[in-house]
Each structure stands twice: as C-alpha cells, then as structure tokens.
C-alpha cells in the first residue's frame, strides 16, 4: 500500500485519476461505488472516492503485463 499525503486528499485523488485516465473511457464499478478504466493490455485501475478509511480515497492499479519491472498491484491511499 502506498500513501500520498496532501492538504486535500479528494482533490489530489481526483487529479491523479484524471492524469491516469487520460483519454480512456471510465465506467462505474459493479457495486456503483467507484470508477474503473481498462488499458489496451488488460491492465486496470479503479478509483474509490470513499473507502473504509475515513477521508481517504483510494486508487488501485492492476498491471496485466508481467516483466515490466514495476509492482503489478498497487493500492494508493490519499490522506491528509
């Protein structure tokens, strides 16, 4: 798990999501509580504005392509 601290976690998370999403089309998660995007190799990212941690939105990244030398799963929490 990674933590990104800022004075406004929700704004920081939304900015991060906007950059990550780029021109990709987002859709709602199955439970309606988040947004999700799919990359051309099948990697995915999910943005949850509200999580079980108070005032801490989260973005998860699942990288489908192995061997890139990066973590294939990351959960990033945005906190104050």
């Amino acid at each position: 798990m990674r933590i990104i601290s800022s004075s406004d976690p929700h704004r920081a998370a939304e900015d991060f999501w906007k950059r990550l999403k780029g021109q990709l089309t987002e859709s709602q998660t199955d439970n309606g509580k988040g947004l999700q995007i799919k990359f051309p190799d099948g990697s995915t990212a999910v943005f949850r504005p509200f999580t079980s941690t108070f005032n801490s939105p989260a973005i998860t990244l699942d990288v489908a392509t192995p061997g890139l030398g990066i973590a294939t799963y990351q959960r990033i929490h945005f906190t104050k």
């Binding site: 199955d30 190799d41 099948g42 995915t44 079980s52 998860t60 489908a64 192995p66 973590a71």
Partner: protein, 197 residues
C-alpha cells in the same frame, strides 16, 4: 500461523461446470484487447455457450482483513444463466474460436500463497484463480486478471499446456522487507473428464 483465507469456487459452481463437461463449445464473450492477441477482457462476467446451453463465470470483490488490514479480494463463481449476453451480442463481443469442439476436461487453477515473516508463517491465502476447459483440439482459460481485481481475462490456446497461466504471486512477492518471504503453490485440479472415442 495467524489466518487462513480461502476464495474457492462453491460446490454449486463446480457442479455447474461439471454439468457442461462433454458438451460442445459454441462461443464465449469478452471485449478485444488491442495489445494481447487471443485474449479478451470483461469487467465481471464471461458467458460461455455450449450445445447444452449457457453459463456465466463471474467475479466479485469481497473484503477480508487476513493481512491485518481491510482489503478486497476477487472471488470466482459460476451461474447457470446468460445475463449480459444480449449486450455482448449487440456489441459484437462474441468469439467462436474452437466452436464445435467437445469439452473433454475441466480444471480449476488454484493458487496458494503463504506469507512468512522471519521464518514464521503469518497468513495463508488460497484462491481459485481460473477455470480451464480442455477441448478436443484446444483449450480456453477464464482467469481473474489479479487477486484484487474483479476483471476477467478470457484466452484461447492450442492446448491446456500452452495456456498462459500466471498465479500473480508477485502482487505480494515484490520489493520485500528483510525477513519477508512468500511460499507459492499452484495446482491444476481436474474437476471433470469426458472420454472421447
């Protein structure tokens, strides 16, 4: 040992899968992946059609705290329906590779991961990661894209042996702290077999 956490297919899901053993493959659904030939994508459901009818392989996320904090893990399930098929048909997201071939074997690809800290096991995670269909001249895998994602990867290959199966232990086993290790066991468990003449 602290905690064991299992994300296995239910008995009912396995019963449904076995009931299609020996049937003939028609098609499966998914979205094409531009960068991965013979792989298709779905956020939650892959519908498989055979000459005996359709079934739906689904993933959903469930929360567990076996790692010491709340996290979501993907759970595979099989349902005897074709929910979402009309939409997939309307979008042209139906693929007929290996149509007409018989399903001769059905497998579950199970991944077991044990976290070991300073030589002491702390938790065990065991999950059914994929459902594999052996066909008379090929194979199909319906696989979770990750242990923490509800997305599904559908892939075709010339045989079960040549399917690209990745247990994704590196979702944990990556940039470990000193004394942190993971023991990984993968199993291909056969749950149904039909002998062809």
């Amino acid at each position: 040992m602290n905690t064991h956490s299992k994300f296995h297919l239910s008995d009912e899901s396995i019963r449904i899968l076995c009931s299609f053993n020996g049937s003939h493959w028609r098609f499966a659904t998914g979205e094409p992946l531009a960068e991965k030939p013979r792989h298709y994508f779905s956020w939650n459901d892959v519908i498989v059609a055979t000459d005996r009818g359709e079934f739906r392989i689904n993933t959903s996320l469930s929360e567990s705290d076996f790692e010491g904090y709340a996290e979501e893990y993907a759970q595979l399930a099989v349902y005897p329906d074709s929910k979402g098929l009309a939409e997939a048909q309307a979008n042209g997201h139906i693929y007929f590779q290996h149509a007409g071939e018989q399903i001769t074997k059905v497998f579950v690809f199970r991944v077991g991961i044990t976290q070991i800290i300073d030589g002491v096991p702390t938790w065990v995670y065991s999950a059914d990661h994929a459902v594999i269909f052996g066909l008379t001249e090929g194979a199909v895998a319906v696989c979770k894209t990750g242990h923490h994602s509800a997305a599904i990867d559908l892939s075709f290959a010339d045989s079960v042996e040549t399917l690209e199966l990745d247990g994704r232990a590196h979702e944990w086993d990556w940039e470990n702290e000193l004394g942190e290790e993971y023991n990984v066991v993968t199993e291909l468990i056969q749950i149904g077999e039909t002998h062809t003449r």
